[in-house]
């Protein structure tokens, strides 16, 4: 009994210690961000590797999710004779929820894990140490550009995801099921507000980008410098950032879209 309590206490302490370390780490990284204004090419290169290289998976997933939304929406709405609303259903689900959330989950698996592994390996092979000895702060040179790139890339990826998803919906609803294209698009335009829906969705993805990239770079930087340590850190990145995305999504949705 006592040992169990001890164990529990120890676990809780460890969690808080890590949270504290992660926050300090974030502060140091943010302190390195202004320096990047002088060297934008560092960020641009990272945007290529976390953003552009994630495009394929985002495009393909977005297309299929939009198509499925169109199909499922049709199956339900056809009972009520409300198939005119399909455009609204597809667009709102994507822009408000599925775009930001699924992009964040895919990003955590595709780019987040890669960031963790890359930084973890640099730590293990003493590259970060060597930079410190060359009077180059690895937080500013290695971590900050990756962090900024992740935060910037996520909203763009989420927007692309939603846009492609809507095209996928159009493909199924208009081309396959033969619903009138005019009502599909006009209802969508009518019922989708820019501030209320589109902007809030982008805001969400910005928050997800911040949190997921933070988790990814911290796990890499904080990993135990062995191959097993890296593999564990990579797993933790995917698990923690997926959970964080889903929990944050609930909170943000409650704040943004509930009319209480």
């Amino acid at each position: 009994m006592l040992t169990q309590l001890q164990h529990l206490g120890h676990t809780i302490l460890t969690v808080f210690e890590r949270l504290g370390r992660a926050s300090l780490f974030l502060m140091h990284v943010l302190a390195g961000v202004p320096g990047l204004l002088l060297r934008p090419y560092l960020v641009i290169y990272q945007i290529y590797s976390v953003g552009v290289l994630s495009l394929t998976i985002i495009l393909v997933s977005g297309l299929f999710v939009g198509m499925v939304l169109g199909l499922q929406g049709y199956n339900t709405l056809v009972n009520f004779g409300a198939t005119d609303m399909l455009g609204v259903v597809v667009a709102l689900s994507l822009v408000r929820e599925l775009g930001p959330v699924l992009t964040s989950l895919l990003y955590a698996g595709r780019a987040g894990s890669a960031l963790t592994a890359e930084i973890g390996l640099m730590k293990t092979t003493e590259q970060l140490s060597a930079m410190e000895m060359m009077a180059v702060n690895p937080l500013g040179r290695v971590v900050a550009p990756r962090f900024v790139a992740g935060v910037l890339a996520m909203p763009v990826l989420a927007t692309i995801f939603s846009a492609v998803g809507i095209l996928g919906g159009h493909l199924v609803v208009v081309e396959l099921l033969g619903i009138d294209a005019g009502s599909f698009w006009s209802q969508m335009q009518d019922k989708t507000e820019f501030m209320e829906d589109v902007f809030n969705g982008i805001l969400k993805s910005l928050v997800f980008g911040f949190v997921v990239t933070w988790i990814a770079v911290f796990e890499g930087y904080d990993c135990v410098p062995t191959s097993e340590g890296i593999s564990r850190a990579t797993t933790r990145t995917v698990v923690h950032s997926s959970l964080a995305t889903l929990a944050l999504d609930f909170m943000l949705t409650a704040l943004m879209f509930s009319d209480i």
């Binding site: 390996l121 640099m122 092979t125 003493e126 590259q127 140490s129 060597a130 930079m131 410190e132 000895m133 060359m134 009077a135 180059v136 702060n137 040179r141």
Partner: protein, 273 residues
């Protein structure tokens, strides 16, 4: 005047204590690295030679004692002061520690690009000159995984000296070098030390090579300085520790084993029954 500032000594270590876990790596160590010379730090594997270099570079903090580099006490420096000091120190890591996403050329150019605003053409000249001195000018376009261990270490050496520091710390520069590159390296370290007026610290096991180029040798073991002096002095020393080490005798007071419990009890202890 700052009492730590001594024109003769570049690095002055006093009463240094450092512990890893329960193992005492340094116990009240005093050590002086004279300016303009090559000082070798020798000792059995695992005694803390690499740790000593990291302490001097400020990557580890001692529990007690002072480490003064050029009159500044490293453990009490602010991050900014520490980084300013590190710009004047070069370090060759035991593993090389090259940046794997850059080519050989860019690795050597890295400190220049980070700390100077020199034009590209000048950087190219400087880098090619340093690569030429380590014999790898032709390997400039290679990626780090295309290098052998010895080549990687020579690239790391070029990188350590590209900023023309006041002091270079070499962690095992001779391991993994064939006899030819070894001879070149030995001469190279000597030449750049004398030509650039550097202070060099070499960590090495190679008694023979090290005695050839070192002006002073410190032998550390078990957290203590076991002996120091010029190579000639150490060769004729009376201390059995130093004698065993310098003559590479396996029998003597220096233990080959990491501290452990009694061998027989250890073997018999884990008997499954």
């Amino acid at each position: 005047m700052n009492p730590l500032n001594n024109t003769q000594t570049l690095v002055q270590i006093r009463d240094l204590c450092f512990t890893r876990g329960t193992r005492r790596i340094f116990d009240q160590v005093n050590l002086d690295i004279p300016r303009g010379n090559i000082t070798a730090i020798m000792g059995p594997s695992g005694t803390g030679k690499t740790t000593l270099l990291r302490l001097i570079g400020g990557q580890l903090k001692p529990e007690a004692g002072t480490i003064a580099v050029d009159g500044q006490n490293v453990p009490t420096l602010s991050t900014k002061e520490l980084y300013l000091l590190r710009k004047r120190m070069g370090m060759l890591f035991q593993s090389g520690a090259l940046l794997t996403d850059l080519t050989v050329f860019e690795n050597v150019a890295f400190p220049l690009r980070e700390h100077t605003t020199l034009p590209d053409s000048l950087i190219r000249h400087l880098v090619l000159m340093k690569l030429h001195t380590v014999g790898l000018r032709g390997a400039r376009e290679l990626l780090t995984h295309q290098l052998s261990g010895g080549m990687a270490r020579r690239v790391a050496l070029a990188r350590a000296m590209v900023l023309d520091p006041m002091m270079i710390m070499y962690d095992e520069p001779f391991t993994g070098q064939d006899p030819i590159s070894m001879g070149v390296l030995v001469r190279l370290i000597r030449t750049i030390n004398d030509a650039l007026g550097l202070t060099s610290i070499i960590v090495s096991h190679d008694v023979h090579e090290t005695s050839q180029i070192a002006d002073f040798i410190y032998i550390i073991s078990n957290g203590k300085v076991m002996g120091h002096g010029t190579p000639a002095e150490l060769k004729t020393t009376a201390s059995p520790w130093v004698k065993q080490f310098m003559n590479a005798e396996s029998d003597g007071p220096v233990p080959f084993h990491y501290p452990a419990s009694d061998y027989a009890t250890d073997l018999l202890g884990e008997r499954p029954c």
